[in-house]
Amino acid sequence: MAAYRGHRTNPDKFEKGQIKIYIMILPMILLTGLPIIFIIFHAFKPMEELFAFPPKFITTNPTLDNFAKLAKASRSASIPLSKYVFNSVFITIVSVLASLLFSTMAAYALSKLKFKGRTMMMQINQIALMFVAVAVMIPRYLIVNKLGLIDTYLAEILPLIAVPVALFLVKGFVDQVPDSLIEAAYLDGASEWRIYTSIIIPLIKPAIATAAILVFQQVWTNIEYANYYINDDSLKSLAFYMNTLTSATTTNTVAGQGIAAAASLIMFLPNLILFCILQNSVMNTMATSGIK
């Protein structure tokens, strides 16, 4: 009897048995990757290739024309592109930093401090993982309006700071910090703030990186807030501007397609680059991501 010996996950080297898996997975990889590759090709297509019939997938003469046109389109508008870029960078940096600060602080307290209401807070946050923001767009609007935040940067920043998933993942990581470390610090007379800054933060860097990516993605690509909460065009985000540009010019004109593809690529690249840099930390965090 040829005994089944149990397979090994995460093998160290290539084995014949893996060929089956490659065959199974490659079509999926191709299907998933093609649209992304398409948008890259499309963004660099010169006019005659955009017009080509039958349509061509691959760019033979890559050009930066579409990016130049994108810059030109914004120059003719009353608000320069640089203003939108500034808005988005500002909004993103403030939101991500505030979100990281608040969720790591809350995660530390929920994990390591004992206080009344702690369990309830954790349960509420766990239920809020299921929060579908689009479902409550309207009441959110009413609240933002009541608070007088319409037409301020705060309307694009504050609603995005509390991210239940981010707190959840960070807390899972803080749970792994041994209590003995914290007790030792107490004995040395360290304050809670000091423990938070010098013990917790350095030990949970992977979780912070993961939370940063998640929050960054939500803020960077968000258009709802700029759309519903902001009337003043000079305060709107780059994502919103790119979206108006693509919906106004695309589909009707072929020339617009190239500009739209360029705009999409510009919005997508920062996400991709950030993820590539931090992917090790993300996988590390996900290993502790379970709901217990």
Partner: protein, 304 residues
């Protein structure tokens, strides 16, 4: 030794520190997550046109939703159920299978593949709506039409995005395409961290193949990740529902791809019937909750 220890106990039981540290998050959470949900529930029992004060109407909105809203019953609900089953549950199964396959590869290719599979979920709707519009252009210059005509599958171009027949399948495909998000990463990480000795023990206990191994060893030892991924997958599926209006406007042609999220936008931001829209929102939140209860039963620990 007794004195400092008691001090440690007292310090870690500090209510004040607990509230100071959770305060900033809690305040924003209450204002922008809890309060909107409570407001939605409250508004769902009223008639509110955004100008006059809301009038309490009891369960009228819910009754109307079930008995009088033909569009909801005939199109929105069936579309949403189909979408949630295929993109939510199907996407979840797909995420597990792909993650499982990847976990059997060496680190290099695995990382590259995981990145490719994850990348669509970074595009979140808007940025990529334009891409799909180009691909599905309704004449022979559209890529999909052109390819299908090349291989002889169709004779004349299909007007994809104005067709109530094809729109939902397109939205579902796009939903699946972008559904390998953090749920997928969580499953992959879970798979890579299953204790290897469990597999050896299981082999001795008579597990004969990889399928049995998956059912008896792998899944039970990563229940927490399975549950987290399930919740993320379902929420992601509904969150992504706005893609149909980006492709075809709101309402979608013939309500072909009208999902519950689009129905909310339709009543809330186009007709300004906020009370009714709020009732639909509550129904959506309940649907998501129901899925989560189901997965909790499936993966939650009975002894807890």
């Amino acid at each position: 030794m007794f004195l400092p220890k008691a001090k440690v106990g007292a310090r870690s039981h500090s209510n004040r520190a607990g509230y100071l540290f959770t305060g900033p998050y809690a305040i924003l959470f209450i204002i922008f997550i809890l309060a909107p949900v409570v407001t939605a529930i409250g508004l769902s029992f009223t008639n509110f046109n955004t100008i006059q004060t809301p009038k309490v109407v009891g369960f009228l909105n819910y009754i109307n939703l079930i008995t009088a809203d033909d569009v909801f019953m005939k199109y929105v609900l069936p579309n949403t159920v189909k979408y949630a089953l295929i993109v939510g549950l199907g996407g979840y199964a797909l995420a597990f299978l792909l993650a499982w396959a990847l976990s059997n590869l060496t680190k290099g290719p695995r990382t590259v593949f995981a990145l490719i599979l994850y990348s669509p979920s970074m595009t979140t709707g808007v940025a990529m709506a334009v891409l799909w519009k180009i691909m599905f252009t309704g004449d022979q210059t559209g890529y999909i039409n052109s390819w299908l005509m090349d291989i002889g599958a169709i004779d004349e171009p299909i007007i994809w995005l104005s067709s109530s027949q094809y729109l939902l399948p397109i939205v579902i495909i796009i939903g699946l395409w972008s559904s390998m998000g953090i749920g997928f990463l969580s499953i992959l990480a879970g798979l890579l961290n299953v204790d290897e000795s469990l597999y050896e023990a299981a082999a001795i206990d008579g597990v004969k193949n990889r399928f049995q191994e998956m059912i008896y060893v792998t899944i039970p030892s990563m229940k927490p990740q399975m549950l987290f991924a399930a919740v993320m997958q379902i929420v992601g599926a509904f969150q992504n529902g706005t893609i149909s209006t980006m492709l075809a406007g709101n309402p979608t042609p013939g309500y072909g791809a009208q999902l519950i999220v689009n129905h909310i936008e339709d009543y809330g931001f186009i007709r300004y019937e906020m009370g009714y829209a709020a009732a639909v929102s509550v129904v959506l939140l309940l649907i998501v909750q129901a899925f989560s209860v189901f997965f909790n039963r499936l993966f939650g620990n009975a002894d807890e």
